[in-house]
């Protein structure tokens, strides 16, 4: 039950040592935390920020792909893309609802996105100039997102974990349709193959950046691991993604654009894994801070949608009010 009315109605708990220890003990015992349970303010804030960013990413993530819906090359691809973009909208809604259980309103979160105060995944600030980009996004971007999201299904905060279960169930089709699309291009004409390789070249490094800064530079990571919001570190997840993806590229005859990529049998406690080259963190931070090729476009598209939808929201609310008044009036008349 996600009732907003209850949240914040009670007095804030005093966060003494005993309170913090009791909370951590619940986390350590793998108990789920529900919205009305006592929780440290920092835990609440971390979740509001993380779930909000996650929701914004789903919503902004509709834009680069929406760009190609009218130009999909076949009806089959168009249906898949429409369904995928609609799913992303739904994922945004599940996540906003989960954040709202923590006492933040949808309007507040929307305002934070549009004003640029809230962040979203840096990956969506790259353009989608060719059809192969749609394949690369499904395969790599959704692939990276799945790596991140599967462990979030076991996150300590109940509503976030439940939202992620739904998201993950729907997400695997996204990755498969993207990979299939890339495979079709890679098996096509020389030009089509070149288009697929070009998309891989442009999306590979930004996809690795999606996992966030190295563990040694990640400020929020330790506390989030302790609170079992995160189950794996950024670097662990990035390594899993590389190890899973290299073979997928090889299978369809595409080359990962990294000259330093090399199998290392010692990695992953002797199970083997890939060494890979250095990530350009300057680019990452530039894009996060608004300097990516599409940052301005993305926010202005969201602003336009919000502004042009005002009359719809107002009309719906006015209609609801009028209906309510009529029902009340007929009740009085009947008495």
């Amino acid at each position: 039950m996600y009732s907003q009315g209850l949240i914040g109605a009670d007095d804030k708990p005093v966060e003494d040592e005993a309170f913090i220890a009791a909370f951590q003990a619940r986390i350590d015992a793998e108990e789920k935390i529900e919205p009305n349970d006592p929780m440290p303010e920092a835990y609440r804030k971390t979740l509001v920020r993380q779930i909000g960013q996650h929701a914004h990413s789903e919503i902004v993530g509709m834009l680069p792909e929406g760009n190609w819906i009218t130009r999909a090359p076949t009806l089959r691809r168009k249906l898949a893309l429409l369904a995928k973009v609609q799913d992303e909208g739904g994922h945004g809604l599940y996540l906003y609802s989960a954040a709202e259980t923590l006492g933040v309103s949808r309007e507040q979160m929307t305002e934070e996105l549009l004003s640029g105060r809230a962040k979203y995944s840096s990956i969506f600030n790259y353009p989608t100039p060719t059809w192969a980009d749609i394949g690369a996004i499904g395969w790599l971007v959704d692939g990276a997102a799945i790596m991140n999201q599967v462990p979030l299904c076991r996150c300590s905060f109940g509503p976030y974990a439940r939202a992620m279960v739904r998201v993950c169930r729907e997400e695997s089709f996204h990755q498969r349709q993207g990979y299939e699309l890339m495979m079709a291009l890679a098996e096509g004409s020389d030009e089509q193959k070149a288009m697929a390789q070009d998309a891989l070249n442009r999306w590979w490094w930004p996809s690795l950046m999606m996992f966030g800064p190295h563990d040694s530079d990640s400020t929020n990571s330790d506390q989030s691991m302790e609170w079992k919001i995160k189950r794996f570190t950024n670097d662990e997840l990035r390594q899993k993604f590389v190890d899973a993806t290299v073979i997928q590229a090889e299978k369809i005859g595409l080359t990962i654009p990294d000259p330093d990529l090399k199998w290392n049998p010692e990695k992953n406690d002797g199970a083997g894994g890939y060494d890979f080259g250095p990530i350009d963190w300057n680019e990452f931070w530039r894009v996060v801070k608004g300097g990516g090729p599409m940052n301005r476009d993305r926010i202005s598209a969201r602003k336009k949608a919000w502004d042009e939808g005002v009359w719809v929201r107002e009309a719906a609310n006015a209609f609801a009010q009028k209906q309510h008044q009529r029902t009340e009036a007929s009740k009085v008349a009947a008495e």
Binding site: S3, R313, A316, F319
Partner: protein, 95 residues
Amino acid sequence: MSIETTPLWEVFIRSRNGLNHKHVGSLHAADSNLAVQSARDVYTRREEGNSIWVVRSDQIVASDPDRSGENFEPAADKIYRHPSFYDIPDDVGHM
């Protein structure tokens, strides 16, 4: 920007006849018709159900989490309410 908030609704879906409607999540909508329509779009895109209930979140009355001890703990020491509390011979058959 309009700061008027649109009401929150809780959504319950029955996955098939014979089962209960089960809470699946929530959404914002101006009225009950829009809430049902949005619930259909958001929560049943993959045959998740054949019936939808929506109820305004502010209409739900919940037990007080601060009193969950006094509400629910008394049941914990009443094991005599469970069939396994009673010893009967094995050879009387299933009971």
